[in-house]
Symmetry: C2
Subunit: 306 residues, 2 copies
C-alpha cells in the first residue's frame, strides 16, 4: 500500500567526537523516506526545499521509488539548515544553528495524486503543518503515525495535543514522553498518551531500545549493543521510516505486525548511526537488513523450557 | 545440584521517596539465598552476623532449605549495618552510614559439609574474602559467579582483578563495567572483561535490562517496565540469586540455559523492587514467578514471518 511521508528535506552540518561534516543532505523526510524505500516502491513525500538544493538528490529519491510531486522547490529561497554538535556520550547535543528558511511559511500542499495514500508518516514538524496535511486528505488514511519533539512541547503544546488527538501512532523518545505527560514512569506516560487519542505509542529509549504500547499490550525491542555510535543524527527518523515502511508494505496493522515493524525500524536505525548522515543507509541492501534483523532476533530470543 | 552463596547478612535502613524503614534485614547473602531458594532446596550460605542478629531469621532461612552451618554468629559483636537514601529518580543513592562491624575481620570458613558445592555465587564482598572461599574449596566447582561493586575498584583493583581471574561469570552493572575496563561501549567493556578470565559477563542496566556475553554470543534481557519502583535495594543481589539458583537447579551451563537464567533473575529482581527490602520476596510463590517470567516472554517475543 502507498505511504505518504511528510517531513523536512534539509541541510545538516554535524559534529561528533569522531569528526565533522560540511553541509550534507538530511532532514526527517529524507531519513524517513530513505528508510521506508527498502520496504516499498510506491511512496510519496510532502516537503519543501530552496533552489539551493541539489536536484540530483531529488532524482535519486525518484529512482528509489519516492514520488516527489509534493516536494515544493521554492525559487530564490534557501533550504532549511540545522547544525549541531554531539557531546562525548553521544546522548546529548547542542544545536549550533537553526535556519528555518523555506520551512518558516511552509504550506503543505497535498497533490491530488497523493489522495490514495493509505498510510501517513508525519515526521517532526510544526504540529500545525502536520494537522493541515491530515485535514487535506479527502479520505481518512488507514493509519497515521507522527513523530514530534520537545521543541513543540515548549512553544506549541496546545496545537501539538490537537494534532496528537488526530493520529493513530505517536512516536516519541523517553524524555519527550515524560515532558508531554508530566509522568516519569514510561508505563504511566504511555497510558496518558493513549488517553490523548492515539491507539499506539512508541517510546524510543535510544541505546536502550524502544517500547510499543497499545491499551492492553506492551512490547520491548532492544537496541543492538554497538561498539561505536558514529553519528546519531536521523536515527529516530530512520526508525520511524523503517517502522511505517514495514507496516505499509505488509498492510497489516495488528499488534503482532507492529512488533515486527518496531524490530525493522530498530534495525534500520542501527545502520543509520554507523556513519555520518545518510551515508550508511545509502550503502546497505536487503540482505544487510535481513542479517541485522536476524541479529536482533538472536539477541533477544530465548526459549522457556516449560 | 548444590549452590553455595557467600555474602553479607546484615541490617539495612533505607529511605526512598516513598518512605523509610527502621533497621531491617538485608545484605547480599540474604537476597541471593532468598531468591535462589525458589529454585532449589539444598543450598548453603557462608556469612557472618553479630549476636544482635535475630535468630528467627536464621530459622526462617533453614526452613527455606538454606543450610546456615557456614554462617558464623560472633558473640558480643554487631552485625554489618548499611543505611542509604535514594534520590527521586531511584537510579542513584547516597550511603548515609556504613558500619562494617563483624565484616571487618571476616574469615570465611568453609565447613566440610559444604565441599560438595557444585555452584558458587560470590556476593559483593571484599575480593580477598571472595578469593579465600575459592581457595578453600578442595575441588573446583562447576561454575563460580561473582558480583562486585565500584567500591572495590576504587580501593582494591589489583585484588579484585585477581579474584575476577578465578571466576566463570562476572556480574556487574553498566557503570561498574565501564570503570573496570575504562571502556564506555558495553560491548567493548564486556570483551575486555572476558580477557580478564571469566567466560561469561552479565552487565546489568537497571531499568534498561541486562546483557549476557560470552566470547561469541550475546543476549539481551529487558527489564519489565514498571509503573513504580518502590525500593531498589537488593535488586542486583536478587537478580544474581535467581540467575544462579536457576543454573544450579537445572545443572546446565549452556548459553541457552544461561539466557533463561538471566530471564529468571530479572523476574526475581522485578519483584524485589515492589516493596521495601525483602518484603515482596517473602510473599511470592512459584506461580507468581511463572506468571512474571511469562510477562517477560510476552514483552520481548516477536515472530519474524519470513
Amino acid at each position: 500500500m502507498s505511504l505518504l511521508t511528510v517531513g523536512s528535506v534539509a541541510f545538516d552540518a554535524i559534529e561528533t567526537p569522531f569528526g565533522k561534516t560540511d553541509k550534507i543532505v538530511g532532514g526527517a523526510g529524507t531519513y524517513i523516506s530513505l528508510a521506508s524505500s527498502f520496504f516499498m516502491d510506491n511512496q510519496k513525500i510532502i516537503s519543501v526545499v530552496g533552489s539551493d538544493f541539489p536536484s540530483n538528490v531529488l532524482v535519486d529519491m525518484n529512482s528509489r521509488g519516492i514520488d516527489t510531486t509534493g516536494l515544493q522547490v521554492k525559487k530564490g529561497e534557501k533550504t532549511f539548515f540545522w547544525s549541531g554538535k554531539y557531546h562525548n556520550d553521544m546522548n546529548s547535543r547542542d544545536t549550533l544553528i537553526t535556519e528555518l528558511n523555506v520551512l518558516e511559511h511552509f504550506d503543505p500542499i497535498v497533490p491530488d495524486s497523493y489522495q490514495d495514500s493509505a498510510y501517513i508518516m508525519l515526521g517532526n514538524l510544526s504540529p500545525l503543518v502536520q494537522s493541515t496535511v491530515i485535514e487535506r486528505m479527502k479520505e481518512r488514511p488507514k493509519l497515521i503515525a507522527m513523530d514530534t519533539m520537545n521543541f513543540w512541547m515548549d512553544i506549541a503544546m496546545d496545537d501539538l495535543k490537537k494534532t496528537i488527538s488526530l493520529v493513530d501512532v505517536l512516536i516519541v523518545n523517553d524524555e519527550e514522553a515524560r515532558q508531554l505527560t508530566d509522568e516519569y514512569a514510561l508505563v504511566t506516560a504511555a497510558k496518558e498518551i493513549l488517553k490523548m487519542g492515539p491507539n499506539y505509542v512508541i517510546i524510543k529509549k535510544g541505546e536502550h531500545g524502544a517500547l510499543l504500547f497499545s491499551a492492553n499490550q506492551m512490547f520491548f525491542a532492544p537496541a543492538l549493543p554497538l561498539a561505536e555510535v558514529f553519528d546519531p543524527t536521523g536515527a529516530g527518523d530512520t526508525f520511524a521510516g523503517g517502522f511505517m515502511g514495514y507496516i505499509a508494505a505488509s498492510d497489516d496493522q495488528s499488534f503482532e505486525n507492529m512488533k515486527r515493524a518496531v524490530i525493522y525500524g530498530s534495525a534500520m536505525a542501527s545502520f543509520c548511526v554507523e556513519k555520518f548522515g545518510t551515508e550508511r543507509l545509502l550503502e546497505i541492501n536487503q540482505k544487510d537488513i535481513n542479517e541485522r534483523v536476524k541479529a536482533f532476533n538472536d539477541l533477544s530470543s530465548f526459549d522457556l523450557k516449560n
